[in-house]
Structures are given as structure tokens and as C-alpha cells.
């Protein structure tokens, strides 16, 4: 029972971070109907940002969030403006292949510059876990969870309360109608891509103290991210949150009760099952 509670809790904590990555991909898909295969690399850049912030300037990874999130927002806007904008009218397959090339490019430039070594971030407060109700929780993971919740809530407020947020949701539901209502769809697209990239980068910063860092980590994260958004329905933010937490819990429980070696496989089987039987997501919100 204790093992069960333990793995359930750590699954939920990791799942919230997965969810953040998933939200980034899903808002971009919602507005532009593209799947960004370079999304995992954006997470990787956030992770390395946190690492170098600490290594070079002794910046606490969680504090460095205020530097990397806006920076990744700008990176995202520039990527859209100068790389993707001309490609998207060419069709979804061209965009898919183009972002595959972008992903390959970023990951391997990172591999060239930073080498393939596994790195870790060690924090002075990360050594001893806290133990509420006898369940051990790593401090960095708990902080990351709290920040992820805060960011997600802030995003939710932005999307539901501000004019720009409403414009994003309107474009996501029906681009033609949004244009007719006076929404500048092009501006919405730039901001959304920036937002998606910033979320990926921020999630990377938050994950960095809890994972191994290496330049090609984006590949694995991207695949997890697909599982999440497909579970929740592509384009749906609440779906991505639920999908992220579900994947975190399934992986965590699967590692304990099924097989540690097939841990990642459980997620994929779940993914295929959902794609086949509920392609609109477990909750039927996506389309």
C-alpha cells in the first residue's frame, strides 16, 4: 500500500511537468493545426539553460525560470516568423517533415557543442526528501510541481480572461470566423507559437534538476508528449493536463508493478490503444 501511494504521488508530480510540455504542443496544434516535431528540443534547450545558469552564474535553476521563459518565448516567435510561416501553407506533411529537420538540426548542434555526456544538476536542498505522511518526495520535484501548477493556472487565466487569450481560443475553434470577427490571425499564430515554446522551455527548466540532461533527450520527451496530447485529445488544454498526469501515474505504477524495463513501452501501448479506439482523446474533447 505504501509503495502504491509512493509511486502514485511521484507519478502525479512528474505528470504535472509532462502536462506542461503537452500544453505547449497542444495550443500550437489548436491554432495552427501543425504538429511541431521540434517541441522536444525546446524542452531540451530549457534544461540546458537551467544547467548552464547554475554552472556559469550559480543561478538557482528555479530562479533562472524568469530568464529562460521570456527568452524561449522570443525564440519561439522568431522560429515561427522566420522559419515556419512560409512552410505552413504547403500542407501538413511538409510542415511535419520541416519540423523533423529542425528537430534533427537543433539536437545535433547541441550534441556537437555540448557533447553527449549525461549531466545532472545537484542542489544543496535536493539531497534529503521531505516525508509528509511517510511518503518520500524529492524537494526539487515538489518545487517544480508547485511552479508548474502556478504557470498552468496563469496560462489558464490568460487564455480565458484576456483579449489576446480569447483571440487564441477563437482561432483555435474556427480560424475563418475569428478572422471575420477582426482577429489578426497572423499575430495570434506568432504569439501562440511563442507561448508553446516558452511552455516547453519552462518545463525543461523545471525538469532539469530531476532528470539526466543530454542533448538528444528531446526525442524521448517528444514521444511522451505525443502520448499525452493524444490521450487528452489534440488541441485541448484540459485534455493535455489530464493526459500528462495519467501518463505520469501509468509510468510510475507500471515501473513498480509491471516491468521497469518496459516502463516506456506501457505509455506507447496506451497511446496506440487510445489512437485506435478513441482518436479524439479519452475525454472526447479534441477532434
Amino acid at each position: 500500500m505504501e509503495t502504491f501511494a509512493q509511486s502514485l504521488v511521484s507519478g502525479v508530480l512528474t505528470g504535472a511537468l509532462y502536462a506542461m510540455i503537452g500544453i505547449g504542443l497542444t495550443v500550437v496544434f489548436g491554432v495552427m493545426k501543425i504538429i511541431n516535431l521540434a517541441h522536444g528540443e525546446m524542452v531540451m534547450l530549457g534544461m540546458f539553460g537551467a544547467f548552464w545558469g547554475q554552472a556559469l552564474w550559480h543561478l538557482d535553476p528555479f530562479v533562472s525560470l524568469v530568464v529562460w521563459t521570456p527568452l524561449m518565448f522570443v525564440v519561439g516567435m522568431l522560429t515561427y516568423r522566420f522559419l515556419l510561416r512560409k512552410i505552413i501553407p504547403g500542407g501538413e506533411l511538409n510542415t511535419l517533415l520541416y519540423t523533423a529537420g529542425l528537430s534533427l538540426l537543433i539536437a545535433n548542434v547541441a550534441l556537437f557543442v555540448w557533447k553527449g555526456d549525461y549531466r545532472t544538476i545537484s542542489l544543496s536542498y535536493g539531497m534529503t526528501p521531505v516525508r509528509p505522511f511517510g511518503i518520500a518526495i524529492a524537494v526539487p520535484l515538489a518545487i517544480a510541481f508547485g511552479l508548474a501548477i502556478a504557470i498552468t493556472v496563469a496560462l489558464w487565466l490568460f487564455l480565458s480572461r484576456t483579449n489576446l487569450g480569447r483571440a487564441i481560443r477563437a482561432t483555435s475553434q474556427n480560424p475563418e470566423a475569428a478572422t471575420l470577427m477582426g482577429v489578426d490571425v497572423e499575430r495570434v499564430a506568432v504569439v501562440t507559437f511563442g507561448l508553446g515554446t516558452a511552455l516547453a522551455g519552462a518545463a525543461g527548466v523545471l525538469l532539469a534538476p530531476s532528470l539526466y540532461l543530454y542533448p538528444t533527450v528531446g526525442e524521448l520527451l517528444l514521444v511522451k508528449c505525443f502520448v499525452i496530447v493524444v490521450l487528452g485529445g489534440l488541441g485541448s488544454v484540459p485534455g493535455a493536463i489530464a493526459g500528462g498526469i495519467l501518463l505520469g501515474v501509468v509510468e510510475s505504477l507500471g515501473a513498480v508493478y509491471v516491468s521497469a524495463t518496459y516502463k516506456d513501452g506501457i505509455g506507447f501501448v496506451l497511446f496506440l490503444a487510445v489512437l485506435l479506439y478513441r482518436p479524439s482523446g479519452l475525454f472526447g474533447v479534441g477532434k
Binding site: L93, G101, L105, N108, V230, T261, Y262
Partner: protein
């Protein structure tokens, strides 16, 4: 006359392929030629599905892996020579492709692509963990190849020529198959599916069956490519034959060479191998940077690929459409 014009380039190509080992004695250059031919087969395999039918697969490494493991296991455990093992590897990959197709073809467009990615990851995990069959991460190594004599002369496995001949035969099979496909009824169905799947279905094309057949052909070629890899490099492990990088390289070849063309994969393979060999000496994994960069440039400025662009220019000069 029309027939001659159609088969002339093919005959010239076969003659050129046959001439290379007679002219070239440098074993490094021959090695590069073998790589080009192997990549041509793999690019053509991917192109059958991705280029003609418009079904972008990110999981072709899974089929390559099935072919490679089948060939090497049949040889090491069953004593079956690789020249029987390679076609059997292709057959095994084609059989494996049926359930994969049955599952993934229910999905369309990007969803299909995502599902193939998941299938490839599952195959890699199985290859890593099903140790009694695949030897896990240790992999299999061929120490010596069986003796073979052709026309009374025994084949020297230390030289490159026998491998070159095998690769050339596979390339001819792959290109002939794509050439046949392009001009066949199924080829026309595939173009219809690529352009508008609903319309294709509405005019009575059994889209699922057509796509499944095409996938099986694509898998057969990819599996034979995998079998050849095991035969030539004599080593198979999950990272070498089932990685996502391999799937991406097949995509790269077909995209850069020209989606939905017969000659494209050959052009793409020459390009890919040239980049890899030029860069490999300088820094590790550097060639992948250039693969990514070229893929972006081609999609942006030349979405029909190098061969597609050349064809356009030639056809334009003839005064055709």
C-alpha cells in the same frame, strides 16, 4: 520506340552499375558505392509509402530491424546463408507490416505518422529486452560467412565486390518495383489516395487494402535492406538497426531526392552518403546537423526534391506540360 525510350535509362543504369566494380579497384570507393546502393533501397522503400501514397512513416527502422534480425538469426542459429536470409528478412518485415498497417492505417495524416513512431519505439524496446531471441543490447556478430562458389570460383568475403553485387541486385529490384508501381493501376490509386483520400474512397478504391499492400511492399524492401545491412556490416544491435535516426535517414533520402519519383532515392542516397563521408572525419554525429539543415532547405525551396526539380527542367525543355 516508345518502349525503348522508357527502358533505355533503366538499361543504361544497369550497365553503369555493372561497370563500376570492373573500373573501380579502390576498396574505400567501392565501400561508399555499397552504402549509396543500400541507402537507395531504403529510400525507395520509404518513398513507396511516403512519396507515392503520402503516408509519412517515422517508424521504418522497425521494418529494417525485423529484416536485419531475421537474416542474422537465421544464419547464426539456423545456419541459413544470408543470400536466403535477406529475402526471408524482407518477407518477415512484410508479414510484420500487416498488423502494423491494420492498426495504424485507421489513422490519417499526422496521426498516422505519430502512430508509426510509437510502433518503432515499441519494436526497439522489444529488441532491447527480449534477450532470448535478440540477444538484447549485446547484439549479434557474424564472425565468418559461409563458403560460396559461383561458376567454379570461390567468393572472397574479404573483398568488397561480392557485397557490391548483392547491393546492386537489391537496388535494381527496389527501383524496378517502384517503376512498376508508378505505372500500375495501384500506383494511380495511391496518387488518388495521396491527393484526396475521401474522394478516392468515393470512386470505389479500397483505400485500406491498397495502403496495406503498398506498406507490405515498402516493408519488404526495407526488410531486405536490413538483411543486407546485417550481411555487410556483420553486426546487429538495437541501437544500430532500430533507432529513430535510421527512420529519419530514410525520410531524408526520399525527401531530398524527390518524393514520389523513381530516381529520387538514388539521388538522395548519393547526397546523404556524400555528406556523411565528408563530415564524419571532422566531428562525431555532425552529419545529422547537415541532414536536418538540408531537409529544411529542400522543403522550403524545392519541395519536389532534387530529382523532381531535374525532371521538371528536362520535361520543360522538351516543350511538354
Amino acid at each position: 520506340m516508345k518502349l525503348a525510350r522508357r527502358f533505355l535509362p533503366a538499361l543504361l543504369g544497369v550497365a553503369a552499375l555493372a561497370a563500376i566494380p570492373l573500373v573501380v579497384k579502390n576498396s574505400f570507393f567501392l565501400h561508399v558505392c555499397i552504402l549509396v546502393l543500400m541507402w537507395t533501397v531504403l529510400g525507395a522503400a520509404w518513398n513507396v509509402l511516403g512519396g507515392f501514397a503520402g503516408q509519412v512513416s517515422f517508424g521504418h527502422a522497425a521494418l529494417f530491424a525485423v529484416g536485419a534480425y531475421t537474416t542474422i538469426i537465421l544464419y547464426l542459429k539456423g545456419g541459413l546463408a544470408p543470400w536466403w536470409g535477406i529475402p526471408l528478412g524482407g518477407l518477415a518485415a512484410a508479414v510484420v507490416s500487416l498488423p502494423i498497417g491494420f492498426l495504424c492505417f485507421r489513422l490519417r495524416g499526422p496521426y498516422f505518422s505519430l502512430s508509426t513512431l510509437a510502433v518503432a519505439e515499441i519494436v526497439k524496446l522489444v529488441a532491447l529486452n527480449w534477450e532470448s531471441v535478440t540477444a538484447g543490447s549485446v547484439g549479434y556478430l557474424i564472425t565468418s560467412l559461409p563458403p560460396l562458389s559461383i561458376l567454379g570460383a570461390s567468393v572472397n568475403w574479404e573483398g568488397k565486390v561480392p557485397f557490391y553485387v548483392a547491393a546492386a541486385i537489391l537496388t535494381v529490384i527496389a527501383l524496378a518495383a517502384t517503376g512498376w508501381l508508378r505505372s500500375s493501376r495501384i500506383g494511380a490509386y495511391l496518387v488518388a489516395i495521396r491527393e484526396n483520400e475521401d474522394a478516392a474512397e468515393a470512386v470505389g478504391i479500397d483505400t485500406v487494402r491498397t495502403k496495406a499492400l503498398t506498406f507490405a511492399l515498402s516493408a519488404f524492401l526495407a526488410g531486405m535492406g536490413g538483411g543486407f545491412y546485417a550481411f555487410y556490416f556483420r553486426y546487429v544491435d538495437p541501437d544500430a538497426v532500430a533507432g529513430i535516426g535510421l527512420s529519419m535517414e530514410m525520410v531524408f533520402i526520399a525527401v531530398v531526392g524527390g518524393l514520389g519519383t523513381v530516381g529520387g532515392p538514388l539521388v538522395g542516397a548519393v547526397f546523404l552518403t556524400a555528406v556523411a563521408e565528408l563530415v564524419r572525419e571532422r566531428f562525431q554525429a555532425g552529419h545529422l546537423i547537415f541532414y536536418g539543415l538540408f531537409m529544411m532547405l529542400v522543403i522550403r525551396y524545392m519541395p519536389e526534391g532534387i530529382w523532381g526539380r531535374v525532371r521538371k527542367i528536362i520535361d520543360g525543355k522538351k516543350g511538354g506540360s
